[in-house]
Amino acid sequence: MNMGNALYLPTCLCDPPQFHNLQELRHSASLANKVFIQRDYSEGTTCRFQTKFPSELESRIEKTLFEDTVKTLNNYYAEAEKIGGQSYLEGCLACTTAYLIFLCMETRYEKVLKKIAKYIQEQNEKIYAPRGLLITDPIERGMRVIEISIYEDRSSSGSSSGSSSVSSSTAR
């Protein structure tokens, strides 16, 4: 349909699907699919994510890179939730100060969450965005899933929708 193509001219850059940075990814691509990496509860309620490689990402990214990312995230979460000397000290100190100490200092968990956010940002910039993928920080999804958004360049999605319109018109 002419209308469909006409719309895409101003927005479509007609570039090959290469995303060199996150900004490009967000503005010039359209969301094609989302993959959700679920939690792994085999060791209890501590935060761990499954390292199973989802089939939708097979064509997009190498298995080792993906597994590295998830394993590093798991390690970070384990560090945040570790029950040891430091966490006891923090807990006792907080209790004696009636938890007022957290007005000036942040908890260990929050410090690790900041590290995680930085790590995810870095991974997105270096590894995932160039492949048209975007990882969403699990904290924004209630620590239930790691959401990986799969983007496609708008020119390619335009052609795919064009083909679907062709198929629907032939169905007529």
Binding site: M1, M3, G4, A6, L7, P10, T11, S30, L31, N33, K34, F36, R39, Y41, S42, E43, G44, T45, A80, E81, K82, I83, S87, Y88, E90, G91, C92, A94, C95, A98, Y99, T107, R108, Y109, E110, L113, I139, E140, R141, G142, M143, R144, V145, E147, S149, S157, S160, S161, S164, S165, V166, S167, S168, S169, A171, R172
Partner: protein, 499 residues
């Protein structure tokens, strides 16, 4: 008919122009509505104060009673007994009393005002993905909705994860859905009306410290009031002394509070929640091999973990601002996937506001396996006509049939989950009867209640141009050619109604 088509097409052309001429897509949207914080549109039944900093359950009457009782008892103690005791015995008594009182109040307020560990509800994409996985796992098992549980093995014990129909997630182990607050809470212990909040992972230690310090405080007050009476009765007689001090208030609360502290001390040392203890999930009576997979092995480790472990952050981000421009996936699965790409086009083509509204509604509706999902079909289907898809009208006419049968389908989720869901309210009643002496009316909210499901009239305003198109399109199509797609959509609808 032609007029109708060109009108609708012109409408879309007009919308196209307006989209192109407008500067960044978000600004017109943002200008219209001020930034809202997330707590303002929180789906659970909670009350928020101080711009989202304080979070409580809906019914807070009993909490105020607790506050009044504590303040009254301590007030009377400090006014009537302390002067005498400070003079006769030692001034340390009021000081200790004061410290205990402040500690009790602090922990009470901390328990009541903090987020117990509420799990945010699934985003539409997540819910749709889960639904897809469940369908794949179960195959087409007919119209009976599948029981939604997942079995996992934790440290050698098999644990069943239940699916929460309200929050659209598989609940993590030890999480439970509080029907009073209408939220899933992590490591759910119980809903405490005295504290006016749920007791869960994030505020359990404060709750424990509250009841322990309150036990000490009540024993302290009780002991010194008795001392006061005894000392006074040496002088002026027993009855006179009794009239000067507030003994009775303390007497009953001491036993129940001390009992509750003892019970929770036991729970902490064995790393169980009240929920699990009531159900006897880890009791050895259930089987020789039944043990608690969460226990750290010894009492000391369990206590330390519960009381001094790291405090997880709140997952619901009450004070964050609502992001109105998060990209969402095109919708649903069962038999109507071909409209997916056209759906994403629709959001670009038409007027931003309407399209965002209708797209979001469609996505919401797509994940809600009920009647309303079908009334949203016209929105998807007619939008695709712009790409030359002229089939929608016919399919939308078909909706009349399945739609009427859906109300019958609606009650099925409760029957399938009734065995799963009736535990929680049953759990809470004995607790209330036993330790708090209060009966709470409990309602099942494990299936979608009418207020949760998006209502058809609500979508009409945003869907109206589409709706208008679809009625015009109705008589326009060649029936014979629509059959395959008609079949697809009917199959899809039938599958949806079976969920």
């Amino acid at each position: 008919m032609h007029l109708g088509v060109s009108e609708s097409m012109r409408e879309c052309e007009y919308s196209q122009i307006s989209t192109r001429s407008s500067t960044p897509m978000e600004t017109p949207y943002k200008k219209r509505t001020p930034k809202k914080r997330k707590w303002e549109s929180f789906p659970g039944r909670n009350k928020f104060f101080c711009d989202g900093r304080i979070m409580m359950a809906k019914q807070t009457g009993v909490f105020y009673l607790t506050l009044v009782l504590i303040l009254l008892t301590c007030g009377l103690f400090f006014t009537f007994d302390c002067p005498f005791l400070a003079l006769q015995l030692t001034p340390v008594i009021p000081v200790i009393g004061g410290v205990l009182f402040i500690f009790v109040l602090g922990t009470l307020l901390r328990t009541s005002f903090s987020d117990p560990g509420v799990l945010p509800r699934a985003s539409p994409d997540e819910a749709a993905d889960l639904e897809r996985q469940i369908d794949v796992a179960n195959g087409s098992t007919g119209y009976r909705p599948p029981p939604r549980t997942k079995e996992i093995v934790i440290n050698g014990q098999t644990v069943k994860l239940k699916y929460c129909f309200t929050c659209k997630i598989f609940r993590p182990p030890r999480a439970s859905h509080c029907s009073l607050c209408d939220n899933c809470v992590e490591r759910f212990d119980h809903h405490c009306p005295w504290v006016g909040n749920c007791v869960g992972r994030r505020n359990y230690r404060f709750f424990y410290m509250f009841i322990v310090s309150l036990s000490f405080l009540t024993i302290f007050i009780f002991a010194f009031v008795i001392t006061h009476i005894i000392l006074r009765s040496h002088r002026s007689g027993f009855l006179n002394a009794l009239k000067d001090s507030p003994v009775v208030v303390c007497f009953f609360s001491v036993w129940s509070i001390v009992g509750l502290s003892g019970f929770h001390t036991y729970l902490i040392s064995s790393n169980q929640t009240t929920n699990e203890d009531i159900k006897g999930s880890w009791s050895s009576k259930k089987g020789k091999d039944n043990y608690n997979p969460y226990s750290h092995g010894n009492i000391f480790a369990n206590c330390c973990a519960a009381l001094c472990g790291p405090l997880p952050p709140s997952l619901i981000d009450r004070r964050g601002f609502i992001q109105s421009d998060t990209p969402q996936l095109a919708p649903p699965t069962n038999g109507i996937t071909m409209y997916g790409a056209t759906q994403s086009q629709q959001s670009h083509m038409c007027d931003q506001d309407q399209c965002i509204q209708s797209t979001k509604f469609v996505l919401q509706a797509a994940t809600t396996p009920l009647l309303q999902q079908h009334s949203s079909e016209p929105v998807i289907l007619t939008a695709s006509h712009e790409n030359g898809g002229t089939l929608p009208g016919r399919a939308s006419l078909v909706l009349g049939g399945p739609c009427t049968s859906l109300p019958l389908g609606q009650p099925t989720p409760p029957t399938s989950t009734s065995s799963l869901s009736c535990h929680e309210p049953a759990d809470m009643l004995p607790i209330h009867g036993h330790s708090h002496g209060l009966q709470e009316p409990v309602a099942h909210h494990h299936y979608l209640t009418p207020e949760e499901v998006p209502s058809p009239p609500g979508m009409l305003p945003c869907g109206s141009p589409m709706g208008h198109n679809h009625t015009i399109q109705a008589g326009f199509y060649d029936p014979a050619s629509q059959d395959s797609l008609h079949e697809d959509s009917v199959r899809g609808l039938v599958k949806l109604s079976s969920v």
